[in-house]
Amino acid sequence: MEAVKYYSRDIFTLTNEEIIKLVDMILVNYNLDRIAHSLYQERPSLSREINYRKIEAINGLYEFAYVIKVTLGFEDLGRKITTGFVLSNEGAPGDNEIYEGDFYIGSVLGFYQPFEHVVHLNGTGKGFGIDFDYSHLIVYTKRLYQFFNDTLRLWSSNLSPDKYQYNQHLLDLGKENIQEYVIEEVDNINQPERIAAISK
């Protein structure tokens, strides 16, 4: 396939609002169903209705990656569960001058596993506390691409300058003991309309 030159935003330029949109896009009804179904042994017939969701960005240990962790409270489950994914730029920092970069989204366990006990002597993937790995989820290939291309416009040229500005919250991860920050936290008591919108 012939290489196509295109412009690319860095994943560290995503705003908090864009990260929330990304989570909304991935954790749609059929994936909430898949997580609920995986909990049938603990709670038979658990529905996908949620009453709590928290989105956190976590230090990804590399300056080209960060982890998005989502904590979910299901209506009929007596505890909260977590899922999430890692976002990473392709290529090393500084390579993006040509703006040809692609980026990865995927399993936290899968991302760190090759380096565990080699680079990270104590292991890493499980340390993020993800109950339901990203590989549990159905992510449609074209839908994912179109979201990043059309909605977040990761590969569009001539965007307004703010689209290329870094999200300082993301840049600060790993600095001065900042390991994570909360992007959104909603529940059915304080934000019932928001919970209704994301769990239908």
Partner: protein, 157 residues
């Protein structure tokens, strides 16, 4: 309504190309060691079968660093959705639970650890999944309920 070319119409050559792409990017690992690059691989066998109750293909890829050494196995499902496709590690598809163990999988396939644009462009441009101007595609009749070997090769420098 937008339609796509079914995964079941992929030719044998396109199945091999798909494995080339996805194994390059998926980084399956064995005991913490990343899958060898193609330059280190000495043996590869690609088998496919129908996903049976859903329109899709189950892939089973065996590979080894030495021709006569123990083979490692990675597996995933490429499945048709409505106007779209998705990839799942075989152990994530609940309906396949009965035959996951007989697959003797030794590598963890994080099949969605993917460069977003590269993967989409491969399916859209190389395999023309969303281009209906060159229909009709024929179903690949080699993809049945039993395993079919698409490729088995020994790689010698």
């Amino acid at each position: 309504m937008e339609r796509i070319r079914s995964i079941l119409t992929l030719t044998d050559d396109e199945i091999i190309s798909t494995v080339d792409l996805l194994l390059k990017i998926s980084r399956p690992v064995i005991d913490g060691v990343e899958l060898m690059s193609s330059g280190d691989m000495r043996y590869r066998k690609i088998e496919v079968k129908s996903a049976e109750i859903v329109p899709g293909i189950i892939f089973r890829i065996s590979y080894a660093e030495e021709v006569n050494s123990k083979k490692d196995v990675v597996s995933f499902i490429l499945e048709d959705g409505i106007n779209d496709i998705f990839i799942l590690p075989v152990n994530r598809a609940r309906y396949t639970a009965d035959f996951v163990n007989p697959l003797n999988i030794t590598s963890n396939f994080a099949g969605i650890d993917q460069p977003v644009r590269e993967v989409y462009m491969f399916f859209a441009e190389n395999l023309q999944l969303w281009n209906l101007s060159i229909v009709p595609f024929s179903i690949n009749n080699n993809i049945k309920d039993d395993w079919y070997t698409v490729e088995e090769k020994i790689i010698i420098d």
